[in-house]
Point group: C3
Chain length 263, copies 3
């Protein structure tokens, strides 16, 4: 039995304590109750567009390539920022145009992009000024999940005009690369912005400050409590402590400089 509707995946900074995400799901189910909804995460730090962009770009590719991704981290809600939908070979993305799609746009070709100006696809009555997730993004996503093509949702826009965040760079060096911690996960693992491609063919080590950290294939290649550098599951160089917490051990944070040296 193949479902006829596309799946909807939701990412927000709303948390799950208040029923804001539930309101979005209710709106979607009220339009079509056969739509399957999956949570990506709702624990993006409040108004942290960069973290949202990182997580969305990390996870979308594991879903069916016609999935509708609704991403709402929206500090400019009710202001002048555009609300957009884009169609790509990796899925549909519905979001405020505030940089939240930066990571995705760096990975996929945008086939089509629209400014969500057609209120026929919004919730009635008129949208609130503070919750476009419920009043615009959720109903638009439900319609796309039902098969609505995005060109009817509003005015076509040039993908180049979509807003992109200025992210920290990873810079190649004579012996490897200099990058930075771009995310710390729940286990205290430090995920850098240095891609696997730079190191995967050779012996290498990582360096934070004056500390050199040997590379391994997996956490358990070393003793419990040892610092290790490895290629993480998302394809980035990662610093970890086997059965421990690298963030605390190293007192590292977002932006902490990490250098990789290939021997």
């Amino acid at each position: 039995m193949q479902k006829e509707t596309r799946m909807v995946a939701l990412l927000t900074d709303f948390g799950l304590r208040d029923p804001y995400v539930a309101a979005m799901k209710g709106v979607i189910a009220s339009i079509d109750r056969t739509v399957t909804m999956v949570d990506l995460t709702h624990d993006i730090p409040a108004q942290d567009i960069a973290a949202a962009s990182f997580h969305l770009a990390s996870v979308y590719a594991y879903f069916p390539c016609d999935t509708v991704f609704v991403s709402v981290v929206d500090p400019g809600v009710g202001g002048t920022r555009r609300a957009v939908a884009i169609a790509t070979e990796g899925g549909y993305f519905v979001a405020p145009d505030n940089g939240i799609l930066t990571g995705v746009l760096s990975q996929v070709q945008t086939v089509q992009a629209v400014n969500l100006t057609n209120s026929a696809y919004w919730r009635v009555p008129v949208p609130s000024h503070t919750f476009h997730g419920r009043d615009i993004f959720a109903p638009v996503a439900a319609h796309v999940a039902r098969g609505t093509e995005i060109d009817v949702l509003g005015d076509a826009i040039t993908p180049d005009t979509l807003i992109k965040l200025p992210l920290k760079s990873c810079i190649a060096t004579a012996h490897g690369a200099i990058g930075a911690v771009q995310y710390c996960d729940r286990f205290g693992n430090l995920i850098t912005n240095i891609p696997a491609a730079i190191v995967q063919d050779g012996k290498w080590s990582a360096q934070i400050g004056t500390l050199s950290i040997p590379s391994v294939q997996t956490y358990s290649d070393r003793q419990i409590g040892d610092l290790v550098a490895l290629i993480g599951s998302e394809g980035w160089v990662e610093i970890a402590v086997n059965c421990g917490n690298a963030k605390e051990t190293l007192q590292a944070e977002l932006g902490t400089i990490v250098e990789v040296a290939i021997r």
Copy 2:
């Protein structure tokens, strides 16, 4: 493809760390695995019936109007409080009769109410004394989702006898209204019990203590860090800080008095 079963929406104070909510879902799926289940929230503060009532009343209306809402914040479990189901034009509500339906009952007409005394619709063997969510409310909800009418679930009761919480009032004044903070959300926004209808047609401001707070249409109408008053997405007067936290800025809490003055 229209599903034949009604959707079940769950609200509890169980949290998601322990698999209590999962046990309820397993019981529902064991009765009918085609039932779609949606979480409203499970992070109601432990045993806080007023918070549960507020959230349930805020969110139910976004769902299809035949949804089955199961709400379990139940400090009196195993004691003498009744377990009830009510049918309304806004959906079915299954819950302990302890005031948790106060907010919903203020908004919708109850068509029918029953005391859940018919054990044929409970989980077998006999219910535990401590977890009616799993043993009574979940199986009853599953049966209602399958189309069971509520009159077979137990003895009919008069809706007037359902327990209601004594909530703080919002009092009209010559120049506006005096109310109170009824909820603080994850962003630190202060949601009052002053309805939008009081202010929506005119210029107005809010006052907390001696501090006057100007009204705006949306958060971003002012500078970052500014205190603003606005109509929130649920239709209540709300105090916020643009890109900040009003609860911390004002050291406000539940019950803090808020006055609205129309100019």
Copy 3:
């Protein structure tokens, strides 16, 4: 309408802040988007195999008996530990072979067990060394949910060789039993490893240190704030405070000794 696929239930220590669980769900949906997925809990303390075993054993029996349970608390990922699937009369269990199935194995008969060595059922390309939840356990679970029998997933193994945790014992005494706190829930209730069968027919009390705690049928049988001992909803002797927090009141923790005396 009966769904043709089995339900998949997920338990991990990944939390919901990072989209690791979402990646697993995306992989499952990419194999079969009609599979219904339910979360057991993702808030197992990081790498706490004993807590995972306790929760899984507490909850699996509420689900349909052909449910596929995927449990990933996996500090040894990428090392030499086996990845296994077992078929039982209570469902299918897919997990690392590190003791996480200890509780389940003590309750159900294992019909068949396999070492997950057949890479035809893994995600392509080759699995990461750090995230077998996404690359091996999730796709295997999706295939089992579609009806794949587990004998094709790898080499048959003897159930006796599955790793089991050495758990604290509950010891019978002349007048009852001596056991220990095996779990503290969100409400601060202390769940011991003393089974209901020991006490259910007589009058009894519990003792922690020199403090004697009377037994009741349910929390509300005593005044608010009173310490009580009762049979909890999972069938274990439990210590609670009516409308309060027994863990804080007693400064108890995992392993705290509890004695039960039958009068």
